[in-house]
Symmetry: C2
């Protein structure tokens, strides 16, 4: 059967090369006669996987030495609770930049632990949805940190600038991590669930500046305590070993692709191809301002929304899957993470053009 092009928002497509490699070794990893899924997280074989993965990630993102790299469970949703419980200290507030569903969900969870200052930053400019420049964000003086989501996967809104501040910036990068270069030193905490650009669901990457440890609330569950995660090298509880192993394989694949700079150029080409198809047609519509158009999640509508289900059914028949928009907003959404090839986006664009012609 033809390999499908999977535009799912997450869990999402894996690089074919990684998938084939993992499959070939699944029952007998590295000649040890066991699956990597069966070995102890404290075995020398697994500790080597862990060490290699950390080295690769530090290279990919140029992570400074005063940042810790740990892995956690529960996805970004768990971090929505972990961040305030770990970072508030004696503060009773934090700034939450409200860019949409995910940023707002983080703020709602934070309400259990503080009074978040929810900063409205969405605007409409020239009839298009955008995020106001960071320098205009109304930050509060008593915030323990500034939380934002670098990319709203449902709306397809990406935030590329940061405020000038001496407060720690905490970023949910679940859907942008490893898609473009970032300056880690500008952040206090970066977290990301894995099922988009890191690998498969079930593991969460957390990158933490050393200064932010040691402030946890007493009622913070130990499995979410950053200091415990650092002290126990992410092995306070048994880690999700297979997801961790897969993350390492993805990091190595990315390095072989030329790193984050190289993949970013590919991502820009892929996104440009798709946005151009939408913009040059009267049949499709994306109303996000160019400044904040996401490179990873590209939602669009059919101007005749009655054709949506037909669009999706026919796409599926062409092996173009996972294109249904999030249930909150409907429409179409193409998630084109690192593993999606330009050829995959080209197939989608070809299909879109044909579909538009056939229905005009």
């Amino acid at each position: 059967m033809k390999k499908v092009c999977n535009f799912s928002a997450g869990p999402s497509m894996l690089p074919q090369k990684v998938l084939v490699s993992i499959q070939s070794k699944l029952a007998n990893w590295d000649g040890i006669g066991s699956s990597v899924m069966e070995i102890s997280h404290r075995s020398k074989e697994f500790l080597m996987i862990v060490s290699d993965a950390e080295k690769a990630l530090r290279t990919l993102l140029s992570i400074p030495d005063d940042y810790h790299v740990v892995y956690c469970q529960g996805g970004a949703r768990a971090q929505f609770a972990a961040v305030p419980m770990n970072l508030l200290g004696n503060n009773t507030s934090a700034d939450y930049i409200d860019t949409g569903f995910w940023a707002n969900s983080a703020a709602q969870e934070a309400k259990k632990y503080c009074t978040p200052n929810i900063v409205k930053v969405l605007a409409t400019v020239d009839g298009k949805r955008t995020v106001l420049p960071a320098k205009s964000w109304k930050l509060s003086s008593d915030a323990a940190y500034i939380h934002f989501c670098s990319n709203e996967t449902i709306d397809g809104i990406e935030i590329r600038d940061l405020p000038e501040t001496n407060k720690p910036i905490v970023a949910d990068m679940s859907s942008t991590i490893l898609s473009r270069p970032i300056d880690v030193s500008k952040y206090g905490v970066i977290y990301a669930s894995a099922q988009k650009n890191i690998g498969i669901a079930g593991i969460t990457l957390v990158i933490i500046h050393d200064d932010l440890l040691g402030k946890a609330k007493t009622f913070l569950p130990s499995v979410l305590n950053y200091t415990t995660l650092v002290d126990k090298k992410s092995m306070f509880n048994t880690p999700p070993t297979f997801s961790w192993y897969l993350a390492g394989e993805i990091y190595k694949w990315l390095l072989a692709q030329g790193g984050v700079e190289a993949i970013h150029m590919k991502n820009e080409k892929k996104a440009a191809l798709l946005y151009d198809c939408v913009d040059t047609s009267n049949f499709y519509l994306n109303n996000i301002h160019e400044t904040n158009r996401s490179l990873m999640n590209i939602p669009f509508q059919l101007t005749n929304s009655e054709l949506e289900s037909s669009f999706l059914v026919n796409a599926q028949a062409q092996y173009l899957v996972g294109l249904k928009g999030h249930r909150n907003v409907g429409g179409i959404r193409a998630s084109i993470y690192n593993a999606m090839l330009l050829e995959g986006v080209q197939s989608l664009v070809d299909y879109m053009k044909t579909f538009a012609k056939d229905h005009t």
Copy 2:
């Protein structure tokens, strides 16, 4: 290469048949042209996996209709915090039956949320370590629930009787779940991390009686809230789809083995073979009373402890791996979960006899 016999305490051995089947479908699950790791947790294909897994588990454990089956992340360690935050309600105490490291770890975490009544139940009878009968446990009147760990993996101590009580009994069954029949209706909550008898690390099974929902503390992270897990069908956050899929495959394999009753008989034979080898030798030693000897984790010492490292190195050369005792106690430990065949235990016993002969 010869398949190794993996006696690791978890992550641990998988049934060979399941491993081979998973591997064959890894890049193209059920002919859909994608890996099961790549598909959305909300896709019809994954929802079918979820539904089949629940049916199989309910059959295996005869789970009554008034119990919910949900999946969580963070292992038993996360449940150590989740249990008190979900179940205390207005109570300020709960009984924690102290059988060893894991039961005590649960009690220590519970101290963040209440004043646990730590119930001492360990005793020495005829020079052997045992757990006092449940009817003698000094339970308190104001406990919200009674927590115990059905099997201490480090010490190899299993608890097979329950107190008569009208309080909810909460059991950490991480290392006994699916190894023997249980009467679910006697419990309020049963939880188990997966990396022993359910599959691979990264997912936690929680079985909850309906009466126990709706009592959560306000500061409980949503990802650990039992009511949220039930309401959102374990998909409030993106679930660890591959671990969940694997759990379903293990459940199907268990049904094909004849279910929990049949595997229990096999487990008794395996354990008897190994304990008999230890008991009939002056070379090896296990000092757990017969009443509480674990069927799953069998620790033993060499009477001449200087031979331990030699025992382990030679075992490894015979493809008998993962036998090193927990770092807290040293010695040897053979974890013989459901996936370990009688032949595997026989290989270990043969090796033990030869090693003893060669070193006596």
